[in-house]
Structure formats: C-alpha cells, structure tokens
C-alpha cells in the first residue's frame, strides 16, 4: 500500500465514523457501549488525530513516537485526557473537532516528501514507519466504527456502510486484475485468472489466499480457558499452548452460532478465528459470557493469509526460520519471522491439502504475500476456496450451517465433547444424541454435469425429502457434487435419490464424505 492509498483510507474511515455518529439519535450518543459512549469514542479519536501528527513528526526526527514506548496504561491516560477534553461537547461541535483534526492531519501528511513515508524507526524490535502509523490509525477508526455500527443495529438504528471493507491486500488484488466481489461486507477477490486453474494450483502446487476478512477474537486472562469451556462444543482444555482445534459454538438450543478455530497462544491467551459474517455476533456472545478474561476483537489489526497445497511447506520454509517439518497439523507457532515480518503460523486450512495460515499485523502482510508469490505461490480467490472446501467436504457457515442446524445434524458430532461438560447447548445436544437427529448432512454425487445449487430439492420415491445446501462441479474430482440434509434413513452411502435441477430430476447417489481425500501421509 502506498502513501496515497493510506491517506485515502484514513479519510474514508473518518467519513464512515462521521456518518454513523451523525445518524445516532441523541439518547444513544451518550449511552455506554461498554466502557465508553459513542461520544467518548469520537473524542478519543480526535485525540489520536493530534497524537498521530505529533508521532509522525517524531518518527521523522528518528525517534519513536512519544506514545509508543510506554505501556498500555499510558494509552489509557492519554485516552482519558481526550475524553475529558472533547467528550462533553455537543454532537455538532464534536463532529466539527473530528473533521477539523482529521483534515489537519491529512493536510500535514499530504505535505510530507515521499521518502518520509518509509523511514524506519525501531520500536520494540519492530520497524515503524509513517505509513504503518497512518494505516494503524485508519484501522483504529474502522474497528471502532464497525463496533458502534453493530451496537446501533442491535438498538434498531441501521446505518449502512458507505463502502465495503477492504483488506490490507486490496490494492495488490486490484493491481493483479482480480475480479472483486462483495462477501460478508468485504470486497474480496473472487478469482485472478480462473477458478479452475487456481483450484488445480492448490491440488498440485501451492495456492495463496487472502483471508483477512475472517475475524480474530482474542481472549486473555485467568478466566479465558473456563470461558471457552462454557462456550465451545469441542473441549479447549485439551489444548496445550501452540495447539488449535475446530469447533462449533452453539446457542442454548444447540443451533450453531458459528464454526471456528480456537488456538491456545499462551497459558491464559486464546485466539478465535471466526467467519467474517459472524464476527460481531461472536465477539458480543463471547463478551457476554466472559468471566475473568478480556475479550478483544482484533480483526482490524490483523491480516491472515492461507498458503495451501503439497508445495506449501517447501515454499514457506524458504522465508521462515520456524521448523515447519516439525509442526503437526492443527498446531501453531509464534511469534516467528516470515519474510522478515513477525507472524504466527499454524498448520491449518480449508482446502483438503496440507497448508498453513499466517497471521501478521494488519499492515505488514504485503511483504509476506509478495515473498510467497515470488516463490511461485498462485494467488487464489474465494471462488477456488469454495470449490476446494466443497471437494474436501468442509462446511460453509451460512450455507451448510446456521442457527437452525445442530452440529450433530451437520455431521460434526466428532467435535461435540459432551462428557462431563456443561457448555452452552450441551443439554440440548445431549438430548438430541439420545433421541436421534431428524436429518443428517451428506454428500451427493449427481449423474452427468447438471449442477445442484443451494436450495435444490432432493427427492426420494417422488417425495421431497431434503434440500441441497451447497453444490458445484468439482474441478479436481470432475463430478457434480453437493451437500444436502436428508432424513437419517436415507443418509446412507449408496442410497439413490433425485435432485431437482431447473425443473428436471437428476439421479444422484449418497456418498461418504469427503469427495476428495489428499493422498500421502499426514505431516509429522
């Protein structure tokens, strides 16, 4: 990302916040979201417009910004000062301060010579630049704005975004000619050169995905483990530091709120990687149930890329000192350096291949991405991500899973650890397990090349017995494949059913999932 893009993003982030605050009715403006009211949020960002300007001046003099070498408590003090100074203003004056201070900052930044943007000052072993400072401030704006937007929505005040959210790699995707599409509020690459070519690259070599739209929720504190033990179907107590697990998170009635990966990054610290469309709900749910720990949605301060395919380890090993051959599946290591950037690396993915996911600070990801592309990783979009996950039999939240489905119906029984545990939803799932489920997720292979799509009815003996939740033509397995919920007696491999595809009945067979299984031994 260049200086111009960074400044533009900052301005746009400011406009999003202005618009949101302008739309909040008076009573909400002074209501506490948690610690702060919306007014306090604006006041503290007014403060940061001033601090950032000062900080950039110091960077250019070769010193760390005055606010950085300090501990978090100093931030708190700084923010409290801003809230005390501007938080009491009326709406109009406060928005005036926000616009004025942001405009002053932007003009100051626009006046900087190009060379100034990339001058590095070492702060806690990390190089800091003006570019990074500006990017971080823009992300801070977005993080607060999106939180307020969600909170306002819960109170019946819907304020749509002016524009879609963009990852740190958005500019790279655009320059590469990717076809961008809206996805869960984000503007994401659907494909660069073609879904099938990208799909094959992952099955035969290495593909690289920008999955920074996914949410990251961090829990820290002595109560973190107990909190997750109360919320996750899978058992987080099994996790040692550096281990991760896949798990549904359920409502009291057993409906799936989200499926996610939980990683233990420290004795009392966990990171949840959640679906983009569920980020706000998940973070709120975890906050509402948290005891003895701090819950932070850090999604706007992190970037996540996935390197997937049989060559993933070879490629990644060339740019990291982490010993990847010794990293088992669903294990994570960090912080390590990847292409010179501080990162966490996990052996996880959503493609059915060996592969890694690499988590970095939001603004540092481009160096990682470019290093891997230079080594031959093929950039892949959401199109290939979807066909790959479907061949591998992985479920997609919002299509195959939602609040009306239970993990037992969805074939995720292996993640539901009921023994001696009382997580939210456990009682309902225990009952379901005893009584048996009414429907079960299964794989279908259709004859010919007719493709079932989400919603296609499934018939047996002329009766409608279920519906397809996902379907495509598997580019690698070369079959028309689908996922569907069927009554348990039909959800048996070998059962013949029919799928209605555009007013035509197509013969299909229930098969054991996955449709595609990677050959060769598991790593480590």
């Amino acid at each position: 990302m260049g200086p111009e893009e960074a400044v533009q993003r900052l301005q746009e982030a400011g406009e999003e916040l202005e618009q949101l605050v302008a739309a909040l009715p008076d009573p909400l403006l002074g209501e506490r979201v948690e610690r702060w009211t919306p007014k306090d949020v604006v006041a503290h960002l007014v403060g940061w417009n001033h601090h950032a300007k000062e900080g950039v001046r110091e960077l250019l003099e070769g010193r760390p910004p005055f606010y950085l070498p300090h501990a978090k408590e100093d931030f708190r003090e700084l923010n409290a000062q801003s809230v005390a100074r501007w938080g009491g203003l009326d709406r109009e004056s406060l928005l005036g301060e926000l616009k004025g201070s942001l405009q002053a900052l932007v003009e100051f930044l626009r006046g900087l010579p190009d060379g100034a943007w990339h001058r590095e000052v070492q702060v806690r072993d990390e190089p800091l630049t003006v570019l990074a400072t500006v990017s971080q401030l823009a992300q801070d704006y977005l993080s607060h704005t999106e939180r307020l937007r969600f909170w306002a929505g819960l109170r019946g005040v819907a304020v749509p975004r002016r524009r879609l959210l963009r990852t740190a790699l958005h500019g790279w995707h655009a320059r590469a000619g990717a076809r961008m599409v809206p996805f869960a509020g984000w503007e994401m690459p659907l494909q660069y050169h073609g879904i099938v070519a990208e799909h094959r690259a992952v099955r035969t070599g290495a593909g690289l995905f920008d999955v920074s739209h996914m949410g990251q929720v961090r829990l820290s504190g002595p109560g973190a483990l107990a909190t997750l033990d109360r919320l996750l179907c899978n058992d987080p107590r099994r996790l040692r530091v550096g281990q991760a697990l896949y798990t549904p998170m359920c409502r009291e009635d057993g409906g799936v709120l989200d499926d996610l990966v939980a990683c233990r990054v420290g004795e009392d610290r966990f990171l949840l990687v959640v679906n983009a469309a569920r980020r706000e709900q998940d973070a709120q749910w975890v906050r509402d149930h948290a005891e003895g720990c701090r819950v932070r949605d850090v999604s706007f301060f992190t970037s996540l890329v996935a390197l997937q395919g049989p060559r993933a380890q070879d490629l990644l090993q060339q740019v990291t000192e982490a010993q990847l051959a010794e990293l088992p599946r669903f294990h994570a290591v960090g912080p390590v350096r990847v292409a010179g950037v501080r990162a966490w690396v996990s052996r996880t993915g959503y493609t059915g291949e060996d592969g890694f996911e690499i988590l970095t600070d939001w603004h540092r990801v481009e160096a990682v991405w470019e290093a891997l592309v230079d080594l031959g990783a093929v950039p892949c979009g959401l199109g290939a991500r979807d066909t790959l996950r479907l061949e591998a039999g992985y479920l997609l939240y919002g299509a195959d899973l939602d609040e009306s489905t239970s993990p037992l119906e969805a074939g995720l029984g292996w993640t539901v650890k009921l023994d001696g545990r009382e997580f939210v939803g456990a009682a309902s799932l225990r009952r379901q397990k005893e009584q048996g489920v009414q429907r079960r997720m299964c794989g279908l292979v259709l004859e010919g090349r007719h493709i079932a799509r989400a919603g296609s009815p499934v018939l047996s003996g002329g009766q409608r017995v279920g519906r397809v939740t996902s379907g495509t033509f598997g580019p690698w397995v070369q079959r028309s494949i689908a996922l569907a919920y069927l009554p348990p007696e039909l959800a048996v491999p070998g059962t013949r059913v029919q799928v209605e595809v555009r007013d035509r009945l197509v013969a299909a067979e229930v098969v054991k999932l996955p449709f595609y299984r990677r050959q060769g031994p598991d790593p480590v």
């Binding site: 879904i195 099938v196 199109g383 066909t387 007719h450 799509r453 033509f473 580019p475 555009r502």
Partner: protein, 126 residues
C-alpha cells in the same frame, strides 16, 4: 475485444451473420462473469428457437445462467465440442466457444440487437 461485425443482445449473447444463417454464442463479458464454464446444455438440431427466449443453459462452478436466442429460427448446427470442452467458452467465447447456428427466420431481428459500440456501453466498458 468485441467484433465489429457481430450483433449483441442485452442478455450478453452475440449473433454473427453467415449468409442466411446466424452463429450464436455468449460474449467475453458474460463468460468472465460466469467464471469457469463446466457444462453447456444446448438444444438438438432441428429445434425452433425464438427471439430472446431461452434455448439452453450454461453452468459454471459458481452459477447457472440461461441462454437467450438473439434471433428466431431453426437450429441447424450445435457445437458438439462443448460437451467435452466447456472451457472453450471461457478461452474463446467469440470463436471456438460458439454454441449454435440458427437458420434465420426474420432478418429484421438483427436490427433490434446492439452493435459492438452500443454493447460496450451496455456493459460499461465504452
């Protein structure tokens, strides 16, 4: 990108006049939007197709889309290669990826279609 001697429909089919016949396919724009085509369902030779009525379906890994006849008439030829090589639609939509040839019933229908420039405006590429 969009041949000057073709005519174009608002549903993104092209029509190329070859004497009394018209060759029909989908445009580069449509092929790109669909993403990789994996299946093309076409009518048998002899079928009557009608102006801007569906005559077949094209399926990609992402979505299915109906094909609309840019002219009325009888189908006299069908691109059999698409059965095993649907990727031709993406690789060469205005050439090898053609779909059917129709015996033109009413030549004035061609006047109701767009020329290349109007089509480029239609898709916002002008």
């Amino acid at each position: 990108m969009y041949p000057q001697d073709y005519r174009y429909s608002s549903e993104h089919e092209w029509a190329k006049r070859e004497d009394g016949r018209v060759r029909v396919g989908i445009t580069r724009f449509a092929a790109d939007r669909l993403t990789d085509v994996v299946y093309v369902e076409l009518p048998p030779v002899g079928t009557e197709v009608h102006f801007m009525q569906p005559f077949g379906v094209v399926e990609s890994v992402k979505a299915a889309s109906e094909l609309y006849a840019p002219v009325s008439g009888r189908v006299v030829e069908v691109n059999q290669r698409l059965r095993d090589h649907p990727e031709l639609v993406n690789q060469d939509p205005h050439g090898e990826g053609w779909m059917i040839v129709v015996e033109l019933a009413d030549p004035t229908e061609l006047d109701r279609l767009m020329d290349a420039e109007a089509y480029r405006r239609h898709i916002g590429e002008a």
